[in-house]
């Protein structure tokens, strides 16, 4: 349970960032929530890796809270619930205790489990292989790789396993599997299969969000997001390089 309204506001900011909210929106929502919770002034400095919130209460006492953000995912349903809570609190202020409970419940809303995410991963990979001009057989192979990747990812999504390692491995499996599939089942082409499967890994959406942050004037956030895009791109390149080199025999295997 939150120790004070400022802790509740800090939690909300932390949950928004963890679930993939735009940084400009985090600042606006956090400052609005702080005022709705009775603070006289509120300032929020948010980054993808941390948030600093300073508030001045009704008696003029200033408090600052710093939170480090350790993991970020895109969870649109939680974002929707959190923002709805904040919007309602701003429109019709309620007690801090009720609001804190609502926010916590929104942040802990369950997402789709493996039973939905594994087929969805296959659908996305297969759909993209066909979208990029693949045949039905190539789409089917990409679908299988998408399913396999989703199952593997369940085991690899651990706090102690770096994301770049997971991405590099995924890229290796997607490109290597596609090349092997094309060799085994001629005349399948590896390109649509690899591209469809890699769409699960490429930071295309992250690149678009980086530029959106830049346009919104969030220069520091845009830089750190761009570094993330570069890291993911490098991990993809490493995995694909190893797979392509093994296939072409450059590694002497």
């Amino acid at each position: 349970m939150e120790r004070s309204p400022i802790q509740m506001v800090a939690n909300a900011a932390e949950w928004l960032i963890e679930n993939g909210a735009e940084i400009a929106r985090v600042k606006n929502d956090t400052e609005a929530l702080a005022r709705a919770a009775g603070m006289r002034e509120a300032e929020c400095f948010a980054l993808p890796t941390g948030v600093i919130i300073t508030v001045e209460d009704a008696e003029g006492k200033t408090t600052t809270v710093v939170r480090r953000i350790h993991q970020r995912v895109l969870h649109l349903e939680r974002l929707n619930l959190l923002e709805t809570c904040i919007r309602e609190a701003v429109a019709q202020p309620t007690t801090a205790e009720i609001l804190a409970k609502k926010l916590r419940s929104a942040a802990q809303a369950p997402g789709w489990g493996p039973a939905a995410l594994i087929p969805a991963s296959g659908l996305a990979a297969g759909g993209f292989a066909l979208f990029y001009g693949g045949t039905l057989a190539e789409g089917g192979l990409a679908l299988i790789f998408g399913l396999v990747w989703a199952v593997l990812k369940l085991f690899l999504d651990r706090p102690w396993i770096p994301g770049v390692f997971t991405t590099a491995l995924g890229s290796f499996l997607a490109v290597g599997g596609s090349l092997l599939g094309a060799d085994l089942f001629r005349p399948l082409s590896a390109e649509p299969v690899a591209t469809g499967t890699l769409m699960l890994l490429v930071p295309g959406l992250a690149l678009v969000q980086t530029l959106r942050d830049l346009v919104a004037g969030e220069l520091v956030t845009a830089q750190s997001r761009f570094a993330e895009v570069l890291m993911t791109g490098a991990a993809l390149a490493i995995g694909a390089t190893v797979a392509l080199s093994l296939h072409s025999g450059k590694l002497g295997l």
Binding site: A21, E22, L74, H75, L76, E77, R78, L79, N80, E83, T84, G111, W112, A116, L117, A120, S121, G122, L123, A124, A125, G126, G127, F128, L130, F131, Y132, G139, G146, A194, T195, L198, M199, L200, V202, P203, G204, L205, L207, V208, T210, L211, R212, V215, G233, L236, A237, A240, T241, L244
Partner: protein
């Protein structure tokens, strides 16, 4: 037929982005609408402007649905943009670099960047126009 594959790919991603309920359907239709507008506009305006107009169409769709459902526009916007994000260009740039075709890799990487810029221009222009106070 390509719009069917667009729908399938966007629906898959909408699940992965943890959309729930009817949002899955509407966000996926947003992806289809955006790609359809892109295909229509490409012969008229060229690919880069078509990407911007496609992204603007997805944003307008997301803003409309947001007002009808009370959910934030991002719930519909991000899955809807998925078919247009330059994932294939990024992969091709990386593949060309691995094959040591550095000039082609730089050109393809630049194209990916320009597409991302076009998408942001489309999204931002409509967001600013339709922003509620």
């Amino acid at each position: 037929m390509i719009l069917v594959w667009t729908f399938a790919a966007t629906l898959g991603f909408a699940f992965l982005l943890q959309c729930r309920g009817w949002t899955l359907l509407w966000a996926s239709l947003g992806g289809v609408a955006g790609w359809g507008v892109y295909l229509l506009m490409t012969p008229l305006a060229g690919p880069w402007i078509a990407y911007a107009i496609g992204a603007a169409a997805v944003t307008a769709w997301a803003e409309l649905l947001s007002r009808l459902s009370g959910k934030p526009p991002v719930s519909y916007l991000l899955p809807g943009l998925i078919p247009m994000v330059p994932g294939k260009y990024l992969f091709n740039a990386m593949d060309l670099m691995v094959r040591q075709h550095f000039t082609d890799a730089a050109t393809t990487g630049w194209e990916a960047f320009i597409i991302a810029v076009a998408l942001v221009v489309g999204v931002t222009s409509i967001s600013v126009l339709l922003r509620r106070p």
